[in-house]
Amino acid sequence: MKSFELVEPATIDEAVALLEPDDPGVRAIAGATALVPMMKARLFQPTRLVSLRRLDGALRGVHEHEGGLRLGALATLTELERSSRVRAVAPVMSRALRTLSNVRIRNVATLGGHLAHGDPHMDLPPVLMTLGARVRAVSRRGERWIDLNDLVLGYYQTTMAADELIAEVHVPAQPTGARTWYEKFTALSADDWPTVGVAVWYRTDAAGSDTTRPTVMTEARVAVSAATERPVRVPAAESALTGAAPDDATFRKAADAAADAVEPLADLRGSAAYKREMIRVHVRRALERAR
């Protein structure tokens, strides 16, 4: 690694003032667990890193917010994994965090860095996409909210400008009876990046006392990651689910729709054809496990 200018601002305003809109050599850094390997591989050679570790409390903490969650961008993945608030609102997140990298990385890596890195293998983006989460991004120009579905554009590319920072993530209150699951499939070693990640979310209408009417899914969300160049929602699978009963036949139909719709990329974890099959299998399994 090459040396670089390291600045450690104390406030968000100072931090965003130190970021440069047009200089790719200037980046914000929090846990550094994703950037250091890229720097060691000389894929990224910064001229200035803006460390967020001395920032005041603004970007920290796990807060309850209108029945949902307000998660500080500097919350470590371990804080999220252990948080009873997270578990209460979004148990699917708590579970996903258990197999996300390893304890040492989770102790240091932050939620904001995890999302801003834009790596399609990350576990939380598909989960947060199905939970309806948004991020609040700040810059010298002010702040804006970005839907998680719109955050990642491709390998290591996001819609964030070079001088924008993720300040927090908002997970809305989840409707009663919402069913969720994240299915992570690793084809190589257990702790490898996933070959396919599938997050699902659906809710059913309340059958109430009318037992003659079958339960149907009134809304469904399916997101696929890792096999693709960015985490994607799969509308074809979602529409196969919406309005149908949460049964095996429907789940199979949605899984087939997902396998047809998604364009997987071949790499050392599998051919495109294999990954397409794995999407089929794991969308179905995720739906079954969510039920």
């Binding site: 090459k2 040396s3 794995m278």
Partner: protein, 692 residues
């Protein structure tokens, strides 16, 4: 669940003395246990010398081609860069810079051409490792690319791109002499074995099975990445500190390259953070040595984990196996043709080819056998030994086919193996009579632990279950020599000087137990002096399952030499017959009850509390070189090793994922010196090979 069983022999008394063994045969913790848990254990990885430069390798970006031009100017311009070394610089002190244990084919730095991606082309030396790393990237090399070949079968075929102009066997191994001077081929060695009449054997068969099995390359990934630190030692000397499994070889090979006598090259090692066959022969030592001599400063070259992938692998192999059987399950003939993907440089590949190759028919009693093994150059990184010295590639082929044959014949796979097992007293295909190979005991124990005769639930739906067993045979690598010295110091304390390298297999403890047994000392009182070629005697290398046997016998002989000297001195001092004395509890005891501690023996010998008594022992088992036409040798190995494994697996039929649910490993180990340590070697050996 993994289960490891050592087939034990009954506790045996020492054949010489007729007394019970005290130290040998006992499970005991490693002598260095505390240092390994408090962080103080010595690895060469930790070594920093004053004024040391950090070397970083610039590597080839292409698989095969001519080097047109090397431009190091940008690298040299970096602040902190001391020098950039290329083959031209090497030539100023090593005119013929090709090294290797089997062939002199690997240049210290690429000379004229490159033969694999990642081949070292230049070394940047800098005062700071980060500067060296940045500057190595700035070296610019222009290539004229040639066609490359990666598949071992294609590389052996006519018309393949030729990787080396001429075969240059090293001369150390007499088994390789016959290929010297061959040109226009990528086949570095063809090793044959013929016994019986293979066509007659197939004619006797009711059915003939023919299959091709392939295995891929595997990386050792030792956690202590390869590291060598070289420093000039006075005007005519050189010291190399290196994480090596073969310090004696490093000394002789570096001396040969420099044209120096061996006594001017000192090579020392410490504990190794893993070896598994990766750290054998020359890896970084020649490069570090030349750099240090050129700049007259200590130079450290240490690889990153990724760089190890360019340095050495296990062989990929293609095995064509043809087996004739009678309908009642007797093997009448077996023909095996194996192509070993040796990569761009031979390293120890030709020896792997030959030493494993002759076991390709398996631990089976077969009258007609024809084996052909080809060590093949390709444009992959060089291949060498990895836990088993080439055996697992062959076991994969012959045991997979054993199951296929058994199924086709409707015979239980275990029973099929029993019907064909090679038993003690029978001739192996090489012509060597087999002894000490308990096939029956291993199969019995496997059957018992696998509950082989109980019905097995094969699963249903998308999860299916299966089970299998396999046995394999390995011959201890031969011919080789070990020498050891045992010192007793002025105060009566004792140290063993050995060039065996402890890389996690607990050899220090095992060898201490052997010396302690002979000298009547508690094992923890025996100090092991780590390999240092200025101090510790020659050993061929720590490889091929040879150390406990070869070095163990050398240490035993050295300790017996010391014991004889102690008893002689004590006999004189006590005025008794030597035959009435024994060593026990750190003292010489007489039958009549007289006692002289070792300390008192030393005083008796030197008239003051001082001096050294040295015992020396060497061990070279006998060996008969195989006939190059037939592979025949009545004495191909000092001993055979037989292992067996059984596994139960679950297959997720929707994803292809295989989960091992039970793994049993059975080995005929003879008498274990340190039984717990033996089990700890076998259990992980099956895990590491499973991952492979």
């Amino acid at each position: 669940m993994a289960d490891t069983i050592v087939v034990p022999e009954a506790p045996v008394a020492d054949a010489d003395a007729g007394r019970a063994l005290r130290e040998v045969g006992r499970s005991m913790p490693r002598l260095e246990s505390t240092a390994k848990v408090d962080g103080s254990v010595e690895y060469i990885h930790n070594l920093r010398l004053p004024g040391m430069l950090y070397g970083r390798i610039h590597r080839s970006s292409i698989a095969h081609g001519r080097i047109v031009r090397i431009d190091a100017s940008a690298a040299l311009a970096c602040d902190g860069v001391h020098a950039v070394i290329t083959a031209d610089d090497v030539a100023t002190i090593v005119p013929n810079p090709y090294y290797g244990p089997a062939f002199h084919d690997q240049p210290i730095l690429a000379l004229g051409k490159v033969r694999h991606v990642g081949e070292p082309v230049a070394v940047v030396l800098a005062t700071d490792p980060h500067v060296a790393e940045e500057a190595a990237d700035l070296v610019s090399v222009e290539y004229e690319p040639f066609d490359a070949v990666f598949d071992e079968v294609a590389a052996a075929a006519p018309g393949a791109p030729i990787i080396h102009d001429e075969l240059k066997p090293a001369g150390m191994f007499t088994d390789l002499e016959h290929v010297a001077g061959r040109r226009g081929t990528n086949v570095a060695l063809d090793a044959r074995l013929r016994t019986g009449d293979i066509e007659k054997g197939f004619a006797q068969a009711d059915q003939v099975f023919e299959h091709t099995f392939r295995t891929g390359k595997v990386i050792h990934a030792t956690f202590e990445p390869m590291v060598s630190v070289a420093e000039p030692a006075g005007p005519g000397g050189l010291t190399i500190h290196t994480a090596s499994q073969s310090p004696s070889f490093v000394r002789s090979e570096i001396a040969r390259l420099l044209g120096w006598p061996e006594n001017r090259v000192r090579v020392r090692t410490a504990f190794l953070g893993g070896g598994f066959g990766a750290k054998l022969y020359i890896k970084l030592e020649a490069m570090a040595a030349v750099c240090a001599l050129l700049v007259r400063k200590p130079v450290r070259i240490a690889l990153t984990m990724d760089e190890q992938f360019y340095t050495i692998t296990k062989h990929g192999a293609t095995v064509l196996i043809r087996t004739g059987v009678t309908n009642d399950g007797r093997i009448t003939a077996r023909q095996v043709e194996t192509y070993w993907n040796g990569g761009a440089y031979a390293d120890i590949g030709p020896r792997v080819t030959q030493k494993s190759g002759f076991t390709a028919a398996g631990p089976y009693d077969i009258e007609h056998v024809a084996l052909d093994n080809y060590a093949v150059y390709t444009n992959d990184p060089p291949a060498g030994a990895l836990r088993g010295f080439g055996i697992s590639q062959l076991v994969w082929a012959y045991e997979r086919q054993a199951d296929i044959i058994a199924r086709a014949l409707g015979i239980d796979p275990l029973e099929f193996r029993r019907r064909n097992a090679l038993r003690n007293g029978r001739k192996h295909a090489t012509g060597t009579v087999v002894y000490g190979m308990e096939v029956e005991a291993v199969l019995d124990r496997l059957a018992e632990k696998m509950e082989w005769h109980r019905p097995f639930d094969r699963g249903s739906g998308t999860i299916r279950r299966g089970r299998g067993i396999a046995i394999g045979v390995k011959a201890c690598v031969s011919p080789t020599t070990s020498t050891a010295a045992v010192h007793v110091y002025g105060d009566g304390s004792c140290a063993v000087h050995t060039s065996t390298v402890d890389m996690g297999q607990a050899s220090d403890t095992t060898l201490a137990q052997i010396a302690a047994e002979v000298l009547g000392l508690p094992t923890p009182d025996v100090r092991i002096v780590h390999p240092d070629t200025d101090v510790t005697p020659y050993d061929m290398a720590t490889l091929g399952s040879r150390s406990t046997f070869h070095m163990g016998n050398a240490v035993r002989r050295a300790a017996e030499d010391v014991r004889a000297q102690l008893l002689r001195i004590a006999a004189g001092a006590l005025g008794v017959d030597m035959g009435d004395l024994e060593c026990r509890d750190g003292a010489v005891l007489s039958r009549a009850g007289a006692k002289l501690t070792f300390r008192e023996v030393m005083l008796a010998r030197f008239a003051m509390q001082a001096g050294t008594i040295v015992g020396v022992g060497s061990y070279t088992p006998s060996y008969t070189k195989p006939d190059p036409r037939t592979g025949y040798s009545p004495n191909i190995t000092p001993f055979w090793m037989l292992g067996g494994a059984g596994a139960e697996v679950e297959v997720d039929c929707e994803t292809g994922r295989v989960t091992v649910t039970k793994l049993v490993n059975v080995a005929d180990v003879g008498r274990a010196i340190n039984p717990a340590s033996v089990e700890r070697q076998l259990c992980p050996a099956c895990s590491i090979c499973r991952a492979s």
